[in-house]
Subunit: 330 residues, 2 copies
Amino acid sequence: MIITMAHGSGGAFTSELIDKIFVKEFDNETVKELEDCAVIPGSKKIAMTTDSFVVKPIEYPGGDIGRLCICGTVNDLLMRGAKAKYITCGFIIEEGANSETLKRIVHSMAETAKEAGVIIVAGDTKVIDGNGGIMINTAGVGFVEEGLDISSRNLTPGDLVILSGNLGDHHATILGSRMNITNSIKSDNAPLTDIVSNLLKEKINIHTMRDVTRGGLATVLTELSRSSRVDIKLEEDKIPVSNAVRDFCGLLGLDPLYMGNEGKCIIVVPKNEAGKALEVIRNSKYGENAVIIGEVKEMAEDKACVYIETEIGGKRILDVLQDEGLPRIC
Amino acid sequence: MIITMAHGSGGAFTSELIDKIFVKEFDNETVKELEDCAVIPGSKKIAMTTDSFVVKPIEYPGGDIGRLCICGTVNDLLMRGAKAKYITCGFIIEEGANSETLKRIVHSMAETAKEAGVIIVAGDTKVIDGNGGIMINTAGVGFVEEGLDISSRNLTPGDLVILSGNLGDHHATILGSRMNITNSIKSDNAPLTDIVSNLLKEKINIHTMRDVTRGGLATVLTELSRSSRVDIKLEEDKIPVSNAVRDFCGLLGLDPLYMGNEGKCIIVVPKNEAGKALEVIRNSKYGENAVIIGEVKEMAEDKACVYIETEIGGKRILDVLQDEGLPRIC
């Protein structure tokens, strides 16, 4: 079936799309109620986030926009120490999209939601003119335990910075797909639920967590250093990049430090807890390649920065991404 | 400033856009934290909803996509009896958009959020190729009082149906704008906060509320009748339509019963409370033209329906909208 403007009318065709594709896959009591708004159990302290996903192509090695949107929203909740609970999704579908493609995407969302332990409770569908593309906005709500304070303001000199795994896979996958390059690289899109829940279960004193998405590690760490007014010293040779991604970067002149990821995060903990934290992360799903990549330092100059020590003892200061990066990477 | 792909990179240009346009307008402590996820006070029972807005043109008589997206999401929360509290917004901006337009839209969102009593706590920005258009997804969270149960399943024979005001204004505005017709019609886009909070304050036993958006009154009431397995008898001559909209409809052969609105709702209450409810609504902002338009009846046939009694005593059965309606009306 080809999706037409009539599927965005709010009438009979919209109902058909909702029943046959969305409700069937997002099979839960709340979504079956078909209300415009879900009423669900709450919690004293909640976390709330949103992301729009406009990735092109919408299906790529290792994932698709459906898996991506659930992971992206779940990971943003997790990074504040929240237990991810509820997801809403808004579909913007370009006229001409094939309902079979939409079904695959929606099935992938449902599977990823199950893996991440979240329920899709409400949605919306709009159809616009275009060339059969699909964009998805997801918003998420999670519950935060009383007393937990994980934020970008908590970096403290002496803390160690753990990276949960290899850099660059998602970025290289999307770019490779657009260039029709065939290789072994797959997107890392994954929910970081297991890593975070295990760290919280072990009562690790997490100061800061952040998923390393658009803008890459350098941008994310620079933003954190500015928020906490500290410097971060990185050990460049510790930063894990797979051989396939390293080759791809070499070929195209890309820097893994500025490449987007969709299943990687940094976790910052006090030095005396770093060993245990690393062990917990390495024993968690999607955390097996975790390493300590740097240390938080007192701010040396007027402006907080992230730097790498050069071989002759100088500092190479990293900055946030300055140019356009890779459009429509997520 | 013209918005380019670089503003969607997640790097320095994205930061600039966020600081100069979004944070400045959505001036609150949570948004200033610039985290990927907001942590905010919760409640035992919450309501959650989402909508994407793709209306064209994005600015029209009486409103714009910014006012529309806040009203749409707030109203969906209110219709379940929730106190609307938090909003997230995801912007999908087409390359070539003018930042001055974006500023006006964002300012309008901020003003409407103030009017509706909600806080914008998190956001996201993506840039895609295109012709300078702007699409916005909003998601909302509200708090629901324990014991309150307002849903589409609660229509009971004998209940009366109140419509909060005139039909067709938003639909006629958007269509008129596209056809370059100059007249006095303005969109009704408005938050229904005052109506709902006054009804709850007066402890009116609301069975069902629903905003009358895409698909129009006939579609919305038919969906409700099916959810509750009841019939609804409408008094066609009671349904309020302004003279300007009536003329516009006559000219173009439109039926106000299928036209989209963005600041109107139906409220269904037991007969013995309808008089008081109507008085409360008429004394509330955006409710001054409210009228009782129909009554809930036992289901007469196998299938629930909405009908109008004809002059000779027959039944004209209304159905949900069958065709495409007006594309990109919201």
